[in-house]
């Protein structure tokens, strides 16, 4: 393998093995010095996160590893940010995300946000306990392609249904897709309320969001 290939593999392995932030940043720096482009580093990071997701599903990794991988991703992305510009006005890749009304939990939403940022999306996080009207307002202000809904409590289920109806009711031309997830949410439920996409966990959310884009 070339120096460049070794360095890129190092980044991927750093995430797959959840080595911690210092080591992840070190390997990203090594990759940059070995002429690996920031885009290629992000790709390696994503491949590593995919492996984290697979190991989490297999119960080899736990929520702690998913969270740590997300923290590492935040650090590496921040390190790479000066190396390339991410335009916040690029509406094609914009996602508005929030936890629905009645639910003040944000850990799932925050994890998903980090994963989506690492996947190249521009995230507008509108917080927790967000009523349907505020999702609509955020849509009008930010022109996202996707609205992401999170909830941890069963009480969020009805509210989630309301938000999906509100987003879709904004008009077929709006073209905004709705991606849902959270502890009480299943694929079956997501389909039943007309959500466009579903993710069982933060790592799955990266793929699910990409699948929603034309």
């Amino acid at each position: 393998m070339s120096q460049k290939e070794i360095a890129l593999k190092g980044v991927k392995d750093a995430f797959a093995e959840v080595v911690g932030t210092d080591e992840a940043e070190k390997r990203a720096q090594t990759a940059l010095k070995s002429s690996v482009s920031p885009t290629e580093i992000i790709q390696g990071l994503r491949e590593g996160l995919d492996i984290v997701g697979q190991k989490y599903e297999a119960q080899e990794y736990f929520l702690s590893e998913v969270i740590m991988a997300a923290v590492m991703a935040e650090k590496v992305i921040a390190l790479l940010r000066p190396s390339f510009a991410i335009s916040r006005t690029k509406a094609l890749d914009r996602i508005v995300i929030g936890t629905v009304r009645g639910d003040i939990h944000d850990i799932g939403k925050n994890l998903v946000s980090t994963m989506l940022i690492s996947a190249g999306f521009d995230i507008i996080d509108i917080g927790v306990d967000v009523p349907a009207e505020d999702f609509l307002e955020a849509m009008r202000k930010n022109y996202p392609k996707i609205v992401g809904l999170s909830c941890l409590l069963t009480s969020g289920i009805e509210e989630m249904t309301r938000v999906v109806d509100t987003v879709h009711g904004a008009g077929p031309r709006s073209g905004v897709k709705v991606l849902v997830g959270g502890r009480p949410i299943s694929k079956q439920f997501a389909d039943s309320i007309g959500a466009d996409g579903y993710a069982a966990n933060a790592v799955e959310a990266m793929k699910a969001a990409k699948d929603l884009l034309p």
Binding site: G20, T21, D22, Y56, E57, Q59, F62, L63, S64, E65, I67, M68, A70, V71, R101, G102, D103, I104, H105, D106, I107, N110, V128, D129, L153, T154, S155, I157, E158, R183, P184, N201
Partner: protein, 368 residues
């Protein structure tokens, strides 16, 4: 059989006359609907909001009347804030409690929940004066409840697990990061909070309780939140200290946790005397747990909270009968939901559960 005796018989793994009932908590909207009383002051399921004893006494009275009306044999009661303490009100409308957790209000449940802490670094925690377990007033709520329940109901002291405290004080993100980067700090932090719990349990002999229940989740739907190794080396070592203190007091120790506990069960079963939740939506099978650990573990659960929110009364009644069928024989079983009566649970469903247990829960259990 007296209600307290029913619980004590159950805790001894004997069959009482009928399966006893409890809930870890009932959200204020339901308690207000059932009792006709109004809850004064702020309330939280994870912490104390103030030491306003008038409000606290009203809350205890409401809980007692609610549980008595429902016929629940076991009443959990939390530890109080010390005399003279009040939560710090922040300019953004949040509140900081005595553990440095910052709470915000949820309008649906009418309760305050922690969402972050004041600790930006391990140093912040090292310099922080943890609450004093020996402070005067700590047992106010339990003393009040003891006066009300007398020997008619079983009384449980409800404490919070150090793992849950640390996740809430640091946020999961920082907690996990510090597990990786500052493992000795996390070990010592867990020990310090376990020290608090051990001292509190020791103080319970001042008032007399029948049980200790430890709240705070270890798992989520997919499994334990951190590796079983971390649980073994840090969490369970300190859990065992608390359990041993409860045993010195002559009472049993029940561990609550939502989520899928299956990977942790073999070790947990060696430490605690029982489990609550047994969350069926996370893959916990109460029948399986009963068959593997029923001689050792008292089981409390497990109609899904999701069912209380979304299903019909007939479906909830059927689930209740299933719980009785799978878990009640041989005793050692207290019926409850898999968590608590959330505000969004249909009260008709909650009451259907209670009615079903009364109808089918007599020993010997004959549910088909």
């Amino acid at each position: 059989m007296n209600m307290r005796d029913r619980v004590l018989t159950t805790l001894d793994h004997q069959e009482p006359d009928i399966v006893p009932l409890t809930e870890m908590s009932i959200d204020p909207p339901h308690m207000e609907a059932l009792t006709g009383l109004k809850l004064e002051g702020r309330t939280s399921l994870q912490t104390q909001m103030s030491a306003n004893r008038k409000d606290e006494a009203s809350k205890i009275e409401m809980i007692y009347r609610c549980y008595r009306k429902l016929g629940f044999e076991l009443i959990p009661c939390e530890i109080s804030a010390p005399d003279g303490w009040d939560a710090l009100k922040n300019s953004d409308g949040t509140i900081t409690d005595e553990w440095g957790r910052v709470l915000r209000y949820a309008s649906v449940t009418k309760t305050w929940s922690p969402f972050r802490g004041i600790f930006r670094s391990p140093d912040d925690f090292e310099k922080f004066a943890l609450p004093d377990p020996d402070a005067s007033g700590r047992l106010f709520a339990i003393q009040q409840m003891r006066r009300l329940v007398k020997d008619d109901f079983a009384l449980a002291a409800f404490i919070r697990d150090p793992f849950a405290y640390l996740c809430e004080m640091f946020t999961m993100e920082k907690f996990v990061q510090w597990i990786y980067e500052e493992p000795q700090f996390i070990r010592k932090a867990t020990e310090r909070i376990a020290d608090f719990n051990v001292s509190i349990i020791r103080r319970l002999r001042e008032v007399g309780v029948d049980l200790v229940i430890s709240g705070g989740d270890y798992s989520e739907k997919n499994g334990p939140m951190v590796s079983p190794r971390f649980f073994r080396e840090i969490v369970f070592v300190n859990l065992r200290r608390q359990v041993e203190e409860a045993h010195r007091l002559g009472v049993k120790f029940i561990k609550h946790s939502d989520g899928n506990l299956n990977l942790l069960l073999p070790e947990l079963a060696q430490i605690v005397d029982g489990l609550h939740s047994l969350d069926p939506t996370a893959g916990m099978d109460i029948g399986e747990v009963k068959s593997k650990y029923g001689e050792k573990l008292i089981l409390i659960g497990n109609v899904a909270v999701d069912s209380l929110c979304r299903k019909t009364t007939e479906e909830v009644a059927q689930e209740t009968r299933e719980c009785l069928k799978r878990a009640a024989s041989g005793g050692g079983y207290i019926f409850s939901s898999s968590n608590s009566w959330f505000a969004d649970a249909k009260l008709t469903n909650c009451l259907a559960m209670v009615e079903t247990v009364r109808k089918y829960g007599s020993y010997p259990i004959r549910v088909l």
